[in-house]
């Protein structure tokens, strides 16, 4: 199969409501993660690492920060004459409603789908965190002769994710049933929001569903047609998180402190690309004391930092103590401040001597640009 035979569609606003704190001014796709990334970097890099260079990003709302981030796509090598990156915002016209589900979203992207000149389309939700081998997925899809192949993971079902497809498979990995509304914590095989499908079939299924006012591609199309179509599963056994609330965001972030998780998410054969900012390397001062932290470039650390994730340009002044925190881009922690279990959105300022303590159950959240 030519590697260019597939195009990708990324849903930028998947489950925005589950990370309300972080998505009040941005889409799920542009939620900052892992010291130097946005969630969409994982989807885009997964696709690009499989040689897919024709990608549409379906947006619904709050997509300014996403557009800032992806730009022309150059950081993912997606500024191309053939294909490349396209943002597909909603358009309002007589009789066309703003997206209420994935069927509407895909219907809105029908020009992209029809013109992309590819045999297959890989659909990706932006609310997942995983480094998935999409070339292997495409290869399996072709070899099994499947109509549709969806990526699944076997493990505990995340909370708040009624939309996760719970699947049963036969010994050939063909999916025999798709259910929803699983009980959180139960061990199941569940879809992680990445599905490959022939382009013509996708067009047809989306058109039919749209005509019939069906909202969800997974729930109202795939689950219903599981007997008629050959739908296969492709297992991703590595690290995965389906975002399901601030708590899961925090846990997934802290999972990066585990070397094994970092190896699974950041693999030099399938690197995760992001927008570069040309920060200088991080500077550690004489009084710096850093332990078990993931840190981006451009930070200046003169205090104590433990078990934390520091994004680009964070400053920690002398005598400050930062523990169990996620501090996003340009957060400034003043001298002798003490913060624990804090999630600070971009450009937050924490004044000198300030004491802020969240708990492992309830993190103290500081909004973008907020001064404490």
């Amino acid at each position: 199969m030519r590697t260019t035979a597939a195009a990708g569609i990324v849903f930028a606003n998947s489950n925005d409501n589950l990370l309300r704190n972080l998505t009040s001014q941005r889409s799920m796709a542009s939620v900052p993660f892992g010291a130097r990334y946005r969630l969409i970097d994982f989807s885009l890099s997964n696709l690009v690492n499989a040689g897919i260079a024709n990608i549409g990003i379906v947006t619904k709302e709050n997509y300014r920060s996403l557009m800032d981030h992806v730009g022309s796509g150059v950081h993912w090598d997606l500024d191309r004459k053939n294909g490349g990156l396209r943002i597909l915002p909603p358009y309002l016209a007589n009789g066309i409603k703003r997206y209420s589900g994935t069927v509407d979203a895909l219907h809105g992207a029908k020009d992209f789908i029809e013109r992309c000149n590819c045999d297959y389309i890989v659909l990706c939700a932006a609310d997942i965190l995983a480094n998935v081998d999409i070339s292997a997925l495409l290869k399996a899809h072709v070899e099994t002769g499947a109509d549709i192949t969806t990526v699944y993971h076997t493990g505990m079902l995340p909370p708040n994710r009624d939309d996760a497809m719970i699947i049963s498979l036969d010994e050939n990995s063909r999916i025999t049933s798709i259910e929803f509304d699983g009980v959180a914590g139960a061990v199941k095989s569940y879809g992680i929001g990445i599905t490959v499908i022939a382009r013509d079939l996708l067009s047809k299924l989306v058109n039919d569903a749209y005509e019939n006012d069906l909202p969800s591609f997974n729930r109202n199309v795939l689950a219903v047609k599981v007997g008629q179509l050959k739908i296969f599963g492709f297992e991703h056994s590595g690290f995965v998180t389906l975002m399901n609330g601030t708590d899961s965001y925090y846990k997934a972030s802290m999972a990066l402190l585990d070397t094994d998780v970092r190896r699974q998410l950041f693999n030099s054969n399938r690197p995760i690309y992001t927008k570069t900012r040309d920060d200088m390397p991080t500077r550690y001062g004489t009084k710096a004391n850093v332990s078990n932290c993931v840190i981006a470039d451009g930070c200046v650390i003169n205090g104590i930092v433990k078990n934390s994730i520091l994004f680009r340009g964070v400053t920690v002044e002398k005598g400050a103590v930062v523990e169990n925190c996620i501090l996003m881009q340009e957060t400034a922690v003043g001298a002798n401040a003490q913060i624990d279990n804090v999630i600070a959105d971009k450009n937050a300022v924490i004044g000198e001597n300030m004491v802020l303590k969240g708990t492992n159950e309830k993190h103290f959240f500081i909004k973008k640009n907020q001064i404490v």
């Binding site: 130097r36 995760i272 200088m280 390397p281 550690y284 009084k287 710096a288 332990s291």
Partner: protein, 404 residues
Amino acid sequence: MKNKKCVAMLLAGGQGSRLGVLTSKIAKPAVPYGGKYRIIDFPLSNCANSGIDTVGILTQYKPLELNDYIGSGKPWDLDRLEGGVHILPPYQGQKGGNWYKGTANAIYQNLEFIERYDPEYVLILSGDHIYKMDYSKMINQHVEDGADCTIAVLEVTMEEASRFGIMNTKEDGTIYEFEEKPKQPKSNLASMGIYVFKWNKLKKYLVEDEADPNSSNDFGKNIIPNMLAAGEKLKVYRFNDYWKDVGTVDSLWEANLDLLNPNIDLNLSDSNWRIYSRTTGMPPQYVSQGAKVENSLVTDGCEIYGSLDYSVLFDNVTVEEGATVDYSLIMPGAVIRKGANVRYAIIAENADIGENADIGGDPAIVGTEDWGITVIGSNLKVGKNAKISANKMIVDNVDEGEKI
């Protein structure tokens, strides 16, 4: 082709032989600096930040890595529809070809390149120095002075002056004499190797110089003295900020450690004057529990389990448990294995320092007579328990337990 006011020509062909094993496989401008940069990032970023969008890069010695690094010029915003970055190696013409015989000859061989842009001014740069400079200010002064050539100079101490090319000037900054490494310097204005010329003047002198069979075809030795002798108007442009030649192992090491010194004014985090570099696809750095990181620069892809003090780590460096790194530069991809001790050393790209190896010496212990920076060449393997003393340049693998 639209004409350009100023074209920059960057001399990047030098071997940098005084850097020894560090330039055995790469040209000097491609030598890593400051954790995530290469030396050439400085003149290229200065060009981009000064609004100069047409840069010819003259390459000759081991250009592969440098060519790769420069690519389309995108990281420096020098991938342009008109102009942009051009790599200019020596080439064959109808009557054969020549290597670049000297700095002036390198420019002479590329007259056609410059002519395509029909510039008023040409800026000559080199790829050997660490500094941030707004070239547009220098060009503006050159234009206001109506000079034929303007040479950037730095005030050095009188003791240092005999190591530099020295400009002897009148009060108004007009140069009346140029002395290369004078024993008895008359002035302390050292040439930084940065020149702005009126293009028509430079062209005339390049052509004349080429016709002289006895010339070394060098800017400092030939072009500048010839212009002075002919009474052309040469002026100095004074530069007062940080500038460092990184042509030797010691100066490269010092220039890196300068980044850790709060009293030295080389701010690489100024968002108005970014130093750009080509980096991509690396995860953030990880500092483990039990690690100790002080007075150091660390960048993407590094994993630190040991101790660092007064060191600069480049991308993808691993320092394993119990290893210590002091007063050292660890270049991209190098690994310092468990219990190894590295001090006063430069570990080049992808070198592998074995468990409990002991590299380099502390001047306080070794004594200044025998002391020097120890350099381990790129891709070399230093075996377990090997001991390499101060002031060594290692060019081959070192066996387990070997003492050098």
